[in-house]
């Protein structure tokens, strides 16, 4: 574990640093893949930038709104670089909504754009696993197994390593290459990433030591992952059946739709 990296007088949280690198590498990959899909790479880049910036602003404003008395003492704190003063869920919602509105206004094709972001999302999910490993978050339940790791004096499931391995397998599954028959239907690559990620979370949550529970023993994350899995499988079925009712799409050399 390496929660903090000291760079001279600066103490930087390793997890945040890894996430920044992941987003940067992911965006580079998205630009290249968007071109392959025949999308306007600049427009996709702008979409990502608008989503990220509005997400950050939304996360800070949501945190400030929930803690208004604290911020009323010091409005400049709204501009603080501290990542602790962010509401990640609200930020994600604001970022996605803003990107969606921007995409609609600029007439960016919805499903192919999601496909363009899929390899980036897969990279970021691997990086999230490494950031958990560095920070010690998403830690495992105590377990006496040959592959257990000792964390804070207790043998535990190496859930962060499970998470990284699952993310690598999912990335390999959805990574664009030839002979992916399902890739001809726009959006399916992205939906498969979502379904596989939900499935992985549902499976691995059982080995975590930080699960939130309802009804005494039911893990909330598993229930949420099951609902997401069900919704995404339904969407995949819809996408595939609607595509089957349309004339065949032209595809590029990688079997990707145009």
């Amino acid at each position: 574990m390496l929660p903090v990296v000291d760079l001279g007088p600066l103490s930087i949280q390793t997890s945040g640093l890894l996430l920044l690198i992941g987003v940067w590498v992911g965006l580079l990959r998205t630009e290249r893949y968007a071109r392959k899909l025949g999308l306007d790479a600049n427009q996709i880049y702008n979409l990502a930038a608008i989503g990220l910036i509005s997400g950050l602003v939304g996360a800070r404003l949501a945190y400030a709104a929930q803690n208004a008395p604290a911020f009323s003492r010091n409005l400049l704190a709204l501009l603080s670089l501290k990542p602790e003063m962010l509401d990640p869920l609200a930020g994600m919602a604001v970022g996605l909504l803003t990107a969606f509105i921007y995409g609609q206004q600029k007439k960016v094709p919805f499903w192919p754009t999601l496909d363009a972001f899929t390899p980036a999302a897969a990279i970021i999910m691997i990086v999230i696993g490494f950031s958990h490993l560095a920070s010690g978050k998403a830690f495992g339940a105590p377990a006496n197994l040959p592959w257990s790791i000792t964390l804070w004096g207790t043998e535990r499931h190496p859930t962060q390593i499970y998470e990284i391995l699952a993310a690598i397998v999912i990335a390999a599954l959805i990574w664009p290459r030839e002979h992916q028959k399902w890739a001809g239907t726009p959006g399916v690559r992205f939906l498969i990433l979502l379904a596989a990620s939900a499935g992985a979370r549902l499976f691995l949550e059982a080995f975590r030591g930080d699960s939130l529970l309802i009804f005494t023993s039911l893990r909330i994350a598993q229930v949420v992952a099951w609902l997401i899995l069900a919704g995404v499988l339904w969407l995949i079925a819809r996408r595939l059946s609607s595509q089957a009712g349309q004339p065949a799409e032209s595809t590029n050399q990688n079997g990707e739709s145009r």
Partner: protein, 183 residues
């Protein structure tokens, strides 16, 4: 993959059924660690390790004796610039939040007592700092960066850790207020 084939809905249904069975089985046979089993580890979600330290004024403070109160625990030294920047906000918290116990621990094995006293006096900080003379508490809390701050709830569980600084007064008041409001 073709949704028009009868196999796809069946496969999807089978996947969902398997997932539901996994949830049920793991809920029943792989119980999540109970809150009562939380070990004392200096990480978010764990019980804050107990310690006893003496303050500059000679008062002895034991962390576990503060159970039932929200605790803000800050590790600092006089030579650390962000520690100096954030100290007025910490003092403000101490003065304005009677429900929060503010523990400012001087990592004394990396500092000199006279420097620490001068630091507090010259910055008009009247906190009764705790002295970690042999560095055992900062090692117990695995402090790797200065300053490092821990927000501890009324049950003695570490809820947030802030590595580095300076910490803003908004963050201090926001986090401690939400912990104070919890039952």
């Amino acid at each position: 993959m073709n949704a028009n084939r009868p196999g796809f809905p069946l496969t999807a249904a089978a996947l969902l059924a398997l997932a539901a069975i996994w949830i049920a089985v793991t809920s029943l046979f792989i119980p999540a660690p109970a809150a009562a089993d939380v070990e004392a580890v200096p990480r978010e979600g764990f019980a804050a390790p107990d310690f006893t330290l003496t303050s500059l004024s000679g008062e002895t403070v034991q962390l576990s004796a503060l159970r039932g109160k929200v605790v803000f625990l800050n590790f600092w030294t006089s030579w650390c610039p962000p520690c100096k920047t954030e100290m007025p906000a910490i003092q403000q918290l101490s003065e304005q939040s009677p429900d929060v116990a503010v523990l400012a621990v001087n990592v004394s094995d990396q500092d000199r007592l006279e420097d620490a006293q001068l630091f507090l006096a010259s910055n008009r900080i009247n906190l009764d700092a705790l002295l970690d003379s042999d560095g055992s508490v900062s090692r117990l809390y695995q402090v790797e960066a200065l300053p490092t701050s821990f927000f501890i709830d009324k049950q003695g569980i570490i809820r947030k850790i802030v590595y580095g600084g300076p910490i803003s007064s908004a963050l201090l008041f926001a986090e401690t207020s939400s912990l104070v409001e919890e039952p």
